[in-house]
Symmetry: C2
DNA sequence: GTGAAAGCGCTAACAA
DNA sequence: TTGTTAGCGCTTTCAC
C-alpha cells in the first residue's frame, strides 16, 4: 500500500450542504473568522466582513443551528406548551410569542399537553432533549414533578396566564380571583341580583368562579347558581348550560361565562328562545376574543392582553438567554372589563 | 512542568448534563453500545439492554437531540408554516400534525409567514438552519423561489389545503374550484336564483369564488354579486359585507361565504335587521368549524377534514425521513357540503 | 453482539 | 484582528 496515500480509510459523507468551511475557504480566512464575521461583525475588519458576506451570498450558505447550538450551548429554540392549540384562548399569546421571538432570531417549538396525561412525560423529554433556551408554559403542565424537571435541566421557565406568589421561575399573568370579584361587583353595580355562572371545568376558570361566588355572597345577594361544563368550552355547551339554567333557576338575570365561546352559546340559546339580552338576561364573557365586539348584542367581556403576555414572555427568555439580569420575575398584566351591550 | 500531568491546558465545560458517556460508564459498556440499546434495542443483548435502561433511569438521562441530529443528519424536527396561527382555519390541521408527529417521536416547529413579506426570507433561513426532516406548508409561502430553496436544501416539502397538478414535492388537499362549483349547484338545486358571494381576498378563496361565479352563470342564473373583504376574515367584515350586499342587491336570496366566521357575521347582521334565514336568505359557510353546527340557525357549511390533512402530512414526512418510499405523492382529501338549517 | 475511531458543523478558549 | 486547537454529544463506519 502506498504510504503516501494519506486518504483516510473510512469517510463519512456530510449532508452535502455548504458549510462554514466552504465559506471561509472562499473568503480566504479561517473558519472561526468567518464565524465571527457572521455572529459578531464588529470583531472583524471591514475587509474580512465584506469578503465573508460575499462568500455567503455566492454559496447560499445557511448556518447549521444544530451544530451551532451544540457547540455554544445555546439552541435559540424556545418551547411553548399549551393544553391544545385549537382552543382560541392562548392563540394570541402564542402568536405574539412566535413573532417576538422570530424578531430576535429565536424559533418556537410547540407542544400540546392537553391530551393523554401519561404522554406528558414524553413531551417533556422531547422538549428537554432539544435543549431549548427557555420554555413558556401557557396553561397547565400537570405534574409538579415535570415542572421541576425542567428547572433541573437548567432551562428558564416562564409560567403565563396566572399569578402565584411562588412561581417556579418567571411569571406573567393576572389574578383569576380578582377577575371573579370584579365581575361580581360589576353586575351588582348594574342592578343585577339573581346571578349565575357557567364555567369550564379547568382549574383557572374554577378559581374565577369561586371568587365570583364568594364576592356575590359578600355583597349580600343570593348564592349564584354554578353550572360546570367540560373543558374545552364550546358554543354548544354554552347553549346547553343556559337551557339547564333556565329550567333550574328561571329568575336568573345575569350570567358570567368562563369563555367568550360559552357566552356566544348563551346568547345563541337566548335568541332561539326569544329571551331578551340584556333586558331579561345580562351576559358577560371572558377573553374578549375578536368576535366579541361584533356580536348582536355586542358582548361585554373580560379583556386579557394575550399579546402583551406573549411579548413579555419572549422578553424574559431572551434576556435570560443573553445573560441579561431579569430584575422583575413576576409581571401582573392585569385585565379590564369591556362594557358593551350584553350587560 | 510535570510531564505526567496530562491534564489538557484548556478545557471547555459542557452543559453539565448527564451524557451518553455517563450512562455507558454506569452500565459498564461503550457509549456506542448504550446508544444502540436506546435506539435499536433489538441489536443488543437483553443483559446489556437491562443495564443501560437502569442506568438511564438512575441518572435521569435525556439524550441531546442537537448532537444526535448533527451526527445522524436527522433532526426529528418538522417545520410547519402557516400564514398566521390566530386564524382558525389551519388550527385543526396543525393540531393533528403536532399530535401525529409527537406520536412518532418528531417535534413541530411553527413559523408564521403572514406578516411582513420581507421577513419571509428570514423565516426560511431560520427553518433551513435547523435542518428539519420536513416542512409542511399550510397556506401560502409567497415566493416561488423560497419554496425551491427548501427543495434545494434537500428538505421534503408537503403542500396542504390545495390541489395542483404540479406540486413541488408532496401534496395533500382538495380542489377549491370544485368547492365553488358544488356550492353553486347546491344552491341552485335548492331553488335559489339571486346568488352572491362574500370572500376574503386570499388566493384560494378567490379561486373558489371564481368557480362559483362561473358555475352559476353556466346554470343560467344571473351573475352573482361578489363582495371582497380583506383577509383574515372576521365576523365584523361579514356583517359589513351583508349590509353592503343588501344595499346594492336587495334581491339576493343566497350568500356563499369564504369562511364560517364571515358566515357568522352575515347571520348576525341578518338577525339584527330581522332578515329571516334561511327563508329570505340562505347562507353557506366554509370550513365547518366547531361552532357551525350549534349556531341559530345551524350553519350549512363546506366541511374540510383538516385533521386528515394533518395526519397525512405527518405520514408523508415521516415516511420520507425513515426512508420508506412514498408511492402516492398527491392525496385529494375531498370535501362535503354539510346541510343544516341556514341553507 | 460489541467496540474503537472518526467526524457531523460549529464555537469557546487560548495564543499570537 | 486573526488563527490554532479542542471539543460540544452523538452516531456512522469499519473491525472483531
Amino acid at each position: 500500500m502506498d504510504p503516501s496515500d494519506t486518504r483516510p480509510a473510512r469517510r463519512r459523507r456530510g449532508s452535502g450542504a455548504v458549510t462554514l468551511h466552504d465559506v471561509a475557504r472562499l473568503a480566504g480566512v479561517a473558519p472561526i473568522t468567518a464565524s465571527r464575521a457572521l455572529n459578531t461583525p464588529t470583531q472583524v475588519s471591514p475587509d474580512v466582513l465584506q469578503r465573508v458576506t460575499e462568500a455567503v451570498s455566492r454559496t447560499g450558505y445557511v448556518p447549521n443551528r444544530l451544530a451551532g447550538g451544540l457547540a455554544s450551548l445555546r439552541s435559540r429554540l424556545v418551547a411553548a406548551v399549551v393544553p391544545t392549540i385549537s382552543g382560541p384562548v392562548f392563540l394570541q399569546t402564542v402568536q405574539a410569542l412566535t413573532a417576538a421571538l422570530a424578531e430576535r432570531g429565536y424559533q418556537l417549538m410547540l407542544g400540546q399537553s392537553g391530551y393523554a396525561l401519561e404522554r406528558e412525560d414524553a413531551l417533556l423529554e422531547a422538549i428537554i432533549g432539544r435543549r431549548p433556551d427557555g420554555i413558556v408554559l401557557t396553561g397547565i403542565l400537570h405534574s409538579d414533578q415535570g415542572r421541576r424537571r425542567l428547572l433541573a435541566a437548567g432551562i428558564p421557565v416562564v409560567e403565563t396566564w396566572d399569578l402565584t406568589p411562588t412561581p417556579l421561575d418567571m411569571l406573567v399573568g393576572f389574578s383569576h380571583a380578582d377577575v371573579g370579584r370584579a365581575v361580581a361587583a360589576y353586575l351588582h353595580g348594574r342592578g343585577r341580583s339573581r346571578l349565575a355562572a357557567v364555567s369550564g371545568d379547568d382549574e383557572r376558570a374554577s378559581r374565577r368562579m369561586q371568587a365570583f361566588v364568594a364576592e356575590v355572597e359578600r355583597l349580600g345577594l343570593p348564592r349564584p347558581v354554578l353550572i360546570q361544563v367540560p373543558a374545552p368550552t364550546t358554543l354548544a355547551s354554552g347553549r346547553r348550560a343556559l337551557a339547564e339554567l333556565l329550567s333550574g333557576a328561571p329568575q336568573t338575570d345575569a350570567v358570567f361565562c368562563s369563555s367568550d365561546l360559552l357566552a356566544l352559546g348563551v346568547l345563541t340559546e337566548a335568541q332561539s328562545r326569544g329571551l331578551a339580552v340584556p333586558r331579561r338576561l345580562a351576559v358577560v364573557g371572558f377573553g374578549d376574543l375578536d368576535f366579541a365586539a361584533d356580536l348582536h348584542p355586542a358582548l361585554t367581556s373580560v379583556h386579557i392582553d394575550g399579546d402583551a403576555i406573549g411579548r413579555q414572555a419572549a422578553q424574559f427568555i431572551v434576556d435570560r438567554a443573553e445573560g441579561r439580569p431579569v430584575k422583575q420575575r413576576i409581571v401582573d398584566i392585569g385585565f379590564s372589563i369591556v362594557e358593551r351591550d350584553s350587560a
